[in-house]
């Protein structure tokens, strides 16, 4: 009981410490963490709408369709990247006996999850209020795929952080993979709009199940028969297993 309390205290202290330096030392630091992605999504939405020439996906307004895709995808990509750097960013603090590398990863997960939820709230809230698009249909059904994506970000980030102890360049590899992943993760198209032979290949991308699952909860009549959250959950378990066990096995290799 005492150790659990210490654990919670440490994670909370780390969340506060991370929020102080997340975006530079400026007074507006944390505000930027919100404003920047909101602007980014807005600009991307306008760009993609122009490209599509007003075509709509699955009967929903395209701006909303695109926002649901890019928001859930970005949450995964940014959170995993942020957790990947948790160890070296907090190295000095591991000199306190109760502060463990896993705590730093958990603190980053909590902080980035909270930040991304605020971003979603702002972007979707804006569209619902000013673009006259429908509000979410089934919030708990949206939350589950989102939670799975966040947990997968934890597993992926932690695994990458462990690999990074031996191979620092894995960081570049991650960004190289996540660039093209933007185009094959159902962000600006739906899985059911893809011809069958390609659909079966794309299906293996776990992010699709999170992104499309999120939409199933949001839109009243969204058709995504191929989505399998159990498949996403398998990725969550495997990556977290690798990350947690790997961290434990390699804990003293770098000191």
């Amino acid at each position: 009981m005492k150790t659990l309390r210490t654990h919670i205290r440490v994670v909370l202290a780390l969340v506060l410490r991370e929020s102080r330096v997340r975006h530079g030392r400026s007074k507006a630091g944390y505000t930027w963490a919100i404003v920047e992605p909101v602007l980014q999504v807005t600009i991307l939405t306008i760009l993609f709408r122009e490209f599509r020439g007003g075509a709509e996906g699955n009967g929903a307004e395209f701006a909303l369709f695109f926002a649901t895709g890019v928001l859930s995808f970005n949450m995964f990509r940014n959170t995993a990247a942020y957790i990947m750097n948790a160890f070296e960013a907090n190295r000095a603090l591991f000199n306190y006996p109760m502060v463990k590398p896993i705590d730093a990863a958990i603190a980053r997960l909590i902080l980035d999850l909270a930040t991304n939820l605020v971003i979603m709230f702002i972007v979707l809230g804006f569209q619902i209020t000013f673009l006259d698009v429908p509000p979410p249909e089934h919030v708990p059904l949206m939350a589950l795929p989102l939670l799975l994506l966040a947990l997968m970000a934890m597993g992926a980030g932690l695994s990458l952080a462990v690999i990074k102890r031996f191979l620092p360049s894995v960081q570049n590899l991650y960004h190289i993979i996540m660039g093209p992943a933007f185009f094959v993760s159902c962000i600006f198209f739906s899985l059911s709009s893809i011809p069958t032979q390609y659909r079966m290949i794309l299906w293996w991308n776990p992010l699709i199940h999170g992104v499309e699952g999120f939409r199933v909860g949001y839109f009243a009549d969204y058709s995504a028969p191929d989505i399998n959250l159990l498949y996403l959950f398998t990725w969550v378990c495997c990556l977290n297993f690798f990350g947690f066990v790997g961290e434990w096995l390699t804990r003293f290799k770098t000191t």
């Binding site: 000199n95 502060v99 000191t255």
Partner: protein
């Protein structure tokens, strides 16, 4: 105050393994203890093991007292955060009153405006003052000190000594230093670390004699 049961520790360096402890069993007595040994004998690693930051390869370390983190140049401060933010972090993880600790350390460390600047802008003396101030603000029974007493001007050294003397009824320290005068000033007994073996001397002078012998070999 600390029991070592068959504790082993070694690490790999370029060109082979280096033994730090080779199955050492010992009870560290309730004393101010100096730790001596040649460069690379593993003095700092031993402190980190006592603190619980680094694990032994084999054996058990039992701690019966509350033990500080090792205070040293390696630093436990986040360089991007200011002194005051680092103090708040320590207060939070040790469950202390945050603002009270901020005030106490402010008074003790005498950093002036630097207290509110990132730690990366500090001189090594300022960093040591902050480190010593923070650790003295938390009530530990055992303070682990890695070289840090040797920095700072005479006035600050005297102040540190007074602060520690106040703690003496309830606290002890375990200290690594290359300055024999420093060790004599604070410690009554000594441990000499050599090639995986650890020897305890009830009189610090005997420990220093042994250490000087090792250096001549």
């Amino acid at each position: 105050m600390i029991d070592l049961l068959n504790v082993s520790k070694s690490y790999t360096i370029r060109g082979g393994r280096r033994n730090i402890l080779n199955g050492v069993s010992m009870t560290l007595p309730w004393d101010n203890i100096a730790i001596l040994g040649r460069n690379g004998a593993g003095k700092s690693t031993f402190l980190r093991m006592i603190a619980g930051i680094e694990e032994a390869d084999g054996g058990i370390i039992r701690r019966h007292k509350s033990i500080s983190w090792p205070l040293g140049f390696r630093g436990s401060f986040h360089r991007e955060l200011s002194g005051v933010e680092n103090v708040r972090f320590v207060a939070r993880i040790y469950g202390q009153d945050t603002e009270e600790m901020v005030e106490n350390v402010k008074e003790f460390a005498e950093l002036g405006q630097f207290y509110y600047e990132p730690v990366k802008t500090y001189s090594s003396g300022m960093g040591a003052r902050l480190a010593f101030g923070v650790s003295m603000a938390v009530n530990f029974e055992v303070y682990l000190i890695d070289e840090i007493m040797a920095v700072g001007d005479a006035r600050f050294k005297a102040k540190s000594k007074r602060a520690f003397q106040k703690r003496l009824p309830t606290s002890r320290l375990i200290m690594v230093s290359h300055s024999m005068n420093n060790l004599r000033e604070y410690c009554q007994t000594g441990l000499v670390l050599d090639n995986g073996k650890m020897t305890y001397y009830e009189d610090i002078e005997d420990a220093i004699k042994r250490y000087e012998q090792l250096n001549e070999e």
